[in-house]
């Protein structure tokens, strides 16, 4: 270990992720999530809770009330969560952040991205939304999926990433 020096990381001169402006998902993404939850919970109660307690009106009334309360709580939670979510493009990387209780923020440099993919499911299509998936090497741990984007925006992002990936090679 000759010539070893131990200079501190020159933080002031580096671009900082904290200063980046994030772009939010389109507002209808919230509605899409809400519909998704309603469908899921209706299916759940239709297949499990209702058949089990249909002959005891008191229990079904209580579980109905809980059902509604839970839904209201989820909506409130989703609204708060929505405000935290966002993505940002910089010259060399893409950042995505999400999570209210468990906040996560990932940055993937373009020169480490393998390929990207746009997909949309039936409900997503109804709300005119698309998902962008970004794949890196070495398993799913660092793959990134951004659901609920405007289809044109998703395509723009995909094209921008493709161009930047090609440039960095």
């Amino acid at each position: 270990m000759k010539e070893f020096t131990n200079t501190s990381i020159p933080i002031d001169s580096l671009p900082q992720i904290e200063e980046v402006e994030f772009e939010m998902h389109p507002k209808r993404y919230l509605k899409y999530r809400a519909v998704g939850f309603i469908i899921m919970m209706t299916l759940l109660s239709a297949t499990w809770i209702t058949p089990l307690f249909s002959d005891t009106p008191l229990i079904s009334a209580i579980s109905g009330a809980i059902w509604v309360l839970l839904l209201v709580f989820i909506f409130a939670f989703e609204r708060k969560k929505y405000r935290v979510m966002g993505f940002a493009l910089r010259e060399h990387d893409l950042t995505y952040k999400r999570g209210l209780f468990f906040f996560k923020q990932v940055t993937l440099p373009f020169n480490r991205i393998q390929h990207t993919e746009i997909s949309n499911g039936p409900i997503e299509r109804k709300f005119n939304l698309s998902s962008l998936k970004i794949f890196t090497a070495g398993g799913a741990s660092s793959d990134l999926s951004i659901a609920g984007l405007d289809p044109e925006r998703a395509q723009e992002l995909k094209d921008f990433i493709a161009k930047s990936v090609a440039k960095s090679e």
């Binding site: 200079t7 990381i9 209780f101």
Partner: protein, 498 residues
């Protein structure tokens, strides 16, 4: 004979290898039924006829598999043809090949055959396995495939004097580690016995639960008896159990080490690392140095006394192989070997001009202590259910032990970020040092739960092609500093990183 341009079959005698492999698969599938039949002692006519039928069919299928399996090299691709009814053709471009490994299980050793296994970075679903080759064919094929690892500009360099020297050096393997019997036994003795015990236990449990279904009738009656006795036996039972477990663990450690590392020979040249080892199944791994993503040095408090460490190498991996044991281990590296490896794998570490070391907040020790205290108190109370007074006596000792260990452990964690390499070091009794080159990172992640936010702490995850590594409970500003710095270093880097 070493011509691979024409489609060719494996060595005919290899049918035996394939047949035995198929039989093993079938036995595995029906292990529970077989064990049941054997134990119940009623192997009737039909069972024998059935078994005979299955074996005949297997033999025919194996022979067809052998006849249909062909391999050859064409246009920089290895091509495997197989398939009984539907013809399958696998094209494996050389550049997708991560490593080419030679293997010899006991049958192959007896028949004088060598198996060749190919790891790719792509999907690991397909079986890229050529089971029966002559030794020199296998070596020649490995050589042919290995040539893909050499970068294109090599051909020009070779003309110069340095180039010639480089090629000579490339061929000459230098021995890194060669284990003799004494060292092997020392290795076995200094294993983490507790861990091997638990792993073996889990493995047996896995097989056991499959069998258990068939024995539930018998076992119920037996366990009722045993249970009553156990409660009476109390402490003695517990002591016997613990002694047996320790004995079992030590035996497993020795067994594992001897099976895996028998006659280990690790060699190094300036392009590849080669590791040959194994008693029943001899493996020969050749890894190009530039495909090694992460290395990990491990030692424990006993091995520290003998001054040696184990080296683990991680390569890029595909989704399917994420949980498989695709690590290669070189045990028993002494200080000079450690230096040698570091010099070869991290030649520019003296150019590490920028570097800063971060340590986690001591809050991590608190969390660890709380979690482990709860877990171990639950376990202790389950074991000592017979005398709850004992729990009161054990609890304080247990708790202070856990608090001390947690504190010691967290004190040892450090994370060094530099422009050339990263190092994560942790562990007091069992020490781990993880090294990888800064440019090997392919993404960074900042994680913060609301509890951490209140304390202004955060976790940092670093993604690489060989999986993710996480550094927990860093100060918020340290975490962001490393985050921003790593990104700038990755983005500056030109050229391939995998």
């Amino acid at each position: 004979m070493n011509d691979f341009s024409q489609p060719r079959k494996q060595e005919p005698i290899g049918v035996i290898v394939m047949f035995l492999e198929n039989v093993r698969k079938i036995i595995r599938m029906f292990i529970a039924i077989i064990a049941f039949a054997v134990l119940k002692n009623d192997i009737g006519m039909y069972v024998w006829i059935g078994a005979g039928f299955v074996i005949t069919v297997t033999a025919v299928i194996t022979w067809l598999q052998f006849e249909k399996f062909k391999f050859y090299i064409e246009d920089g691709e290895l091509i495997l043809q197989k398939g009984l009814f539907v013809k399958e053709k696998l094209n494996i471009p050389f550049e997708r090949i991560q490593t080419v490994n030679l293997q010899q299980n006991i049958v192959q050793q007896v028949l004088g055959l060598t198996g060749l296994k190919i790891d790719t970075a792509g999907s690991g679903k397909e079986e890229l396995n050529i089971r029966a080759l002559k030794k020199d064919d296998a070596l020649a094929l490995q050589e042919a495939l290995d040539s893909a690892f050499e970068p294109a500009e090599d051909s020009e360099v070779q003309m110069t004097k340095e180039g010639v020297e480089a090629t000579n050096q490339k061929l000459n393997y230098q021995t890194l580690v060669k284990l003799n019997l004494k060292q092997l036994l020392l290795l076995g003795a200094t294993e983490n016995h507790l861990r091997s015990g638990f792993i073996a236990f889990a493995l047996i449990w896995g097989y056991g639960s499959q069998l258990a279904e068939y024995f539930s009738d018998y076992s119920e009656a037996v366990t009722e008896d045993i249970e009553a006795n156990l409660i009476q036996a109390g402490w003695i039972g517990l002591l016997i159990f613990i002694t047996l477990f320790i004995l079992f663990s030590v035996v497993t450690s020795f067994g594992r080490v001897i099976l895996k590392f028998f006659n280990l020979h690790a060699q190094l040249n300036n392009e590849n690392l080669q590791v040959k080892a194994g008693l029943l199944k001899r493996n020969e791994h050749t890894i190009p140095l530039n495909k090694i993503q992460i290395i990990q040095w491990e030692d424990n408090f006993i091995r520290r006394y003998f001054k040696f460490k184990s080296l683990k190498l991680f390569q890029g991996r595909s989704e399917e192989t994420v949980n498989s044991k695709k690590t290669i281990e070189v045990p028993a590296c002494f200080h000079e070997q450690e230096e040698k490896v570091m010099e070869v794998l991290f030649p520019d570490s003296h150019q590490q001009l920028v570097s800063e070391t971060f340590s986690p907040h001591i809050h991590q020790a608190r969390i660890l202590a709380i979690v482990f205290s709860i877990l171990s108190l639950l376990a202790a109370s389950a074991l000592l259910i017979i005398s709850s007074g004992a729990l009161l006596a054990v609890a304080p000792v247990l708790m202070s032990g856990i608090i001390f260990l947690s504190w010691k452990y967290v004190k040892t964690i450090s994370f060094t970020v530099g422009n050339k390499q990263l190092c994560i070091s942790k562990g007091w009794l069992f020490k781990k040092e993880i090294f990888f080159k800064t440019y090997r990172c392919q993404g960074v992640e900042y994680k913060q739960s609301i509890f951490l936010k209140r304390r202004k702490l955060a976790h940092l995850t670093i993604h690489t092609a060989a999986g993710s590594r996480i550094i927990r409970y860093l100060k918020e500003e340290d975490c962001l500093k490393a985050y921003n710095y790593l990104l700038s270093e990755i983005e500056k880097h030109k050229g391939s990183w995998m």
